[in-house]
Structures are given as C-alpha cells and as structure tokens.
Amino acid sequence: MTPDLLQAALYAALLVVIAVPLGLYMARVFSGEATFLAPLERALLAPAGIRGEEGQHWTRYALSLIAFNAAGFLVLFLLLRFQNLLPLNPQGFDGVPAHLAFNTAISFVTNTNWQSYGGETTLSHLSQMVGLTTQNFVSAASGMAVAAAVARGFAGRQVRTIGNFWSDLVRSVLYVLLPLSVLLAIAFVATGMPQTLAASVDATTVEGGRQTLALGPVASQIAIKQLGTNGGGFFNVNSAHPFENPTAISNLLSLLAILALPVAFCFTYGRMVGDRRQGVALFAAMGVMLVLAFVVLYAAERIGNPLHAGLVAPGSGNMEGKDVRFGIIGSALWAVATTAASNGSVNAMHDSLTPLGGLVAMLQMQLGEIVFGGVGVGLTGMLLFVILTVFLAGLMVGRTPEYLGKKIEAREVKLAALTLMVMPIGALALAAIAIVAGAAQGSIQDAGPHGLSELLYAYSSATGNNGSAFAGFNANVPFHNTMLGLAMMLGRFGYIVPILAIAGSLAAKKTAPASAGTFPTHGPVFVVLLVVTILIVGALTFLPVLALGPIAEQVSILAAKTF
C-alpha cells in the first residue's frame, strides 16, 4: 500500500507543479498578452475574414461556436461515410454505416470521444488522422474558448461583449494545444508508442503462431487525446493497449496530461477575474472531491472482490481487466482522473471494476463533469454551481446574492437551475426510454444489477461528454448510436449556451465594491458550501438509480450471489 500512496502523492505534486504556471500562461494567452505567434494567428484568421480584436455579444459568440462545430460535424461525418473511397486506407475498410458515422462525428465534435467502434478494426488512417485528430484539437479548443469568454464576462464591467470566438479558438490551438502535443507525442514515442504510416506487421510467434501487430500514427493522436480531455483511442482497448500506453512512465505522463489543462483553468480563471483566490477556491473544491473519489475507488479495487477471495493470493486486489504494468494504483488513479476530467480514455476495463469503484466513476460523470471536468467546460460547469451556491447562501442570510461584486439575479439563477436538468434528462430519461423501448436488454452483457449499471454508465458517459464505457455494453446499434448522439449534444450545448448567456448578462452589470455584508466566495466556508451543494444535488438525482445498480451489486457480492 505504501508504494501505491507514494505514486498517488507524486502524481498530485507533479500535477500542481505543472498546472499553476500553465494556468497563468493561459491567462496571458486569452487576455492577448502573449503575442509571439501573432503572424501565424493572422495567417489563420485573415482567410476566414476575421479581425481578432472585434468583440462579440454572447449570442454571436455562441452562434459562432455552434456554426464551427456544425461544420466540423459535417466534414467528419462525410469523411467517415466515404473513407473507402479516400486514400490512406491500407486495411481497405468499408465506409462507416450512417448511424455509427453520426454517433462518432457528434462524439468527437462535442469532445466526448465515445467509441462505438473498435479503432483498429473500423477506421482508416485518414479517418483517424485527418478526421479524429483534427476534432481532438478543435473540440478541446472550443471548450477552452468558452472558459475564456466566461472568465471575461464575469470580470467585465458594463460591457456588451465577451471576446471573439474565432480568435480564442485559434489561440487555444496555436499557443497551448499544438506545442504541448508536439512535446508529449515525442516523449510518448520515446516510451515505445508507435508512430508510423504502416498498418501492421506480421510476426511469427515463439511457439510458431501468427500474430498481426496493428500499428499506425499512434503517438500523435494519443498526445492530443489526453491533453484535450478527448479520450478516443487509436485501439479498441484505448490506453490499456501496450502500444497506446507502453510503460509506467507513459502512464504517468498520460495521467498528467489528462488533468493538466482542467486543473490549470482554475488558475487561469483566478487571474482573468483579477482575484487569484477565486481560482484557488474552485481548485480546492474540485480537489476535495477528487481526493474523496480516489480514496473510495482505490480502496474498493485494493480490497478486491469478496467473491474471488478464495481464488487469488491475499492482497492482490481486483486484477480482472487490469494490466500488470499499471497494477491497482496505476489503474485506480486513471479511473478517477479520466472520469473526473471528462477525458474518457481508460487503461483498465471499467466494466470489471468493483461495484463501488464503478459507482465512483459513474457518479463523477453524473455530477456534470465538474471535478476539474473537460478542458474549459469543466470550469464553466463548476461556475454554474457557484452561482447556485451563492444564491442559496443569499437565501440563508436574506441578502441579494453577489459574485465577484455583481448582483446575481433571477435571470442568472434560472439559467443555472436549468442546467441542473441536463444530466437527469440525458443519463436518466434517455436511459429509461432505452429500457422501455426494449433496446437496452439486447445490448447489455451482464445479467443482474450490473446490466443496469452498464446501461446507466453509457448514458451518463455520453451526457457528461466523458466517453469511457462499461464496454460489455454493445452501443453500436442504430438505437443507441442515435440516442447517445443526442445525449452528447445535450450534454455539450445544454451547458455551454446557458453559461455563455450568464457571462453575457454579468458582463453588462455594474461591479459593486465588497461591503461588510458581502459573503466571501474564496474562503473555506464557501468551498465547503459549494462541495455540499454539488453532492446534495448529485445524490438527490442519482441515488435511487445507483441503489438499483452498483449498490445492489455490492450487496449481492457480499452475499455471495452471482448472476
């Protein structure tokens, strides 16, 4: 256990050491202070007819984002449908069926990167490189742009505009995602990750069998997959595949990349609103929840499955669906980080996690992906809860709630409350429809409560824009591909549009100086209140269904009942 906790502590320390300067750097990027790539910026913006300095009203900002994502969807959909007619298809794969192309295109445009397909058996190199890698960059950049705009809006003083989407998009890619990806991809190759245009190599094994080793331009895709909280893998088993995560070092680098930008955004926000303590408070609230999640998930996996206690050496933990080079700790850290960050890549099979481990993974998504969350959108999702929390605090003391010196009024609270409906609709209502329509029963692999968990995990992951799966669930059928596609859209734009509206409305407000009656939003009291608000909302919404899934399963394995 000591080596395990040492690794966890090392990870946490490295993460903070990387995230703080990165966050402050991003604040400089988004406030236009970093200009060393200005010529390249102009080269991208000029043909698009954009002058970056031109501020946009929040409605225009949101429409630009939607237009850009719609264009990305269309291009990717067509690329997948017709990959058989296009070059760089060494395995000669067919065009992707319409429902799967729809699901995959939405999945990558919304930064979910849910994989209904097995990468090495479905997609050409062109689809992976030109299609998926491009969206890995720009869907992450879209989320980063939202965070920048929201920070500007919250900090703005009686202004109509919240920045320019196109400029934020270009800056996110040029100043942050692309340079970090190049460095990480090279480091990944050094750990043994392939980077080649060849499709596969045939080997004759020691015992004389044949083994086809699937290869490809892996490292370049995996670097941005982790940095951009994308998570869509090159291979079917994602980062459990030895070519996608060859060593314990590549595992640590990946873990750092998964959370680096989401954590950094807390500090970006603090600097952009001119009060670093605000960012630190958000970091503390998210950090507390992340540590809680880690403790439960790690303990559950370390203790292991009581049903298997007689078959495995004592103290082995739950090794089903885990690779030896990562062990319990490398897999547990990953499961926590990837579901906190809406990344969704996996290095262990979540379907085979213990019931309580699986519950933690699921709950982190169901809370709305705000425990650091996706790049940019995790921060803005958390700000929605901040607004609800200052509203509740205001109710308790009988004052008009304020945040950053701005009055929080009916419009903002209504918009924030509206977003509380996103997860229940996507994860509960759509999953319930799947059961009633009879589509769930054919897709689940396991009987008993675990079957419900498989379905619930799929719809929670899609709505949370996470993308990880209980992979025994067969989502690659027209019904689920369509419904999960809708859930992903809801989970993306159902948060982005309201938070941009709130940012627009706060930007237009006067800032009042703090008075003796102002409730401070940076101290430990506020952090506790925020965490409690999030956990109560999440628990009230999801406890009943979790009781039927993972909790029922935990009780049954304790009673030695199998299904």
Binding site: L44, A71, L178
Partner: protein, 197 residues
Amino acid sequence: MLTLLRPALVLTALFTVLTGLAYPLAITGLAQGLMPRQANGSLITRGDRVVGSELIGQAFAGPRYIHARPSAATSAADPADATKTVDAPYNAAASSGSNLGPSSKALLEAMQARADALGVAQAPADLVTASASGLDPHISPAAALMQAARVATARGVAPARVEALVQRHVEGRSFGVIGEPRVNVLALNLALDAELP
C-alpha cells in the same frame, strides 16, 4: 448567418491541414528519424523473422515456456470462412478485455477453471484474471516464479537455473516509485531458449 459560415468552413479546412495532416506527419517524420525502433513497434527479430514486439504479449501454451496471462482478445475471423470466428488469444489486431462485471457468474467460473488448471489455491491474481488489453506483455514476479519448476522439468535443467533467469528478468519500479514490479514474458521465454535450450 452567412457571415458565420465563412470562418466556420475556412477554419475547419485550415485546422484540418494544420492539426490533421501537418502535425501527425511532422511527428511521424521526427519519430522515424530519431527513434525508428520505437516508432515502428519495438519489434524483436531473430534473423529476418519478426517474432513479435517487446511491448505486446503473446500466447504460450507449451510446458517449456513461462505462460502469460489469460487473454480476452480471443476471436479472429476464420481464415477459411470469414463469417465465423476462431480462437486467437493475444490477437494483436483486435484488442479486448473480458468486460465481465464483478458479480458475473461467467467470470467466477472462468477464474475457478484457471485456478484448477494451475493446481494452486490462491494463485497470483494475474494468472487467474484476464488483462485489460488482452495483450498484457507482463506477469508478476510471483506468477513467473510459480512456473519455474514446470519449465525446468520440461527443459531438463535444475529449477534453480530457471529461477535465477526469472529473477534477472524482474523489472522494478521506474525510479523506484512508478509502476509495478513485473516480468516480460516474451523476453524471458526468448532468454530461456537462448540460455537453457
């Protein structure tokens, strides 16, 4: 609306060129130039025959070899009939875990059968559970040592020699902290063939 269409389409096209083509191709060029062995899959060759990749596990069934973990990457298209699948453990063209849940009866039965085949009560967990990738190249040191006696008998050498070879192939944690102690099965078996034929 039309004023949004131009930047949306133009930037989609430009980003496709920059991040979808230039970026992966530049990385490919760099990787092939600087680290060709890693970039091409860390292949192991004997003469001009590729025997596998040091990173990818392969199936071992004979008594002369240390066996790898159970693999769920077990199906492949039947070469004789494309509509059927055949057993193909460690199929490196279709990675997969078992995805069986903790309360699964099938999982419990599979683990029981593996434990029975090993003939040991409470075996190292990695030998009775399927890996995440189905291609796990490693087993735990305990799992390798447990098989030393069988391999020694099959090769007609003293068990101590096999055990010593296993010990030499135990990889520790990187920097003493990161990762888990492990043994690369393919590397160990190649060493067995080379040193204790």
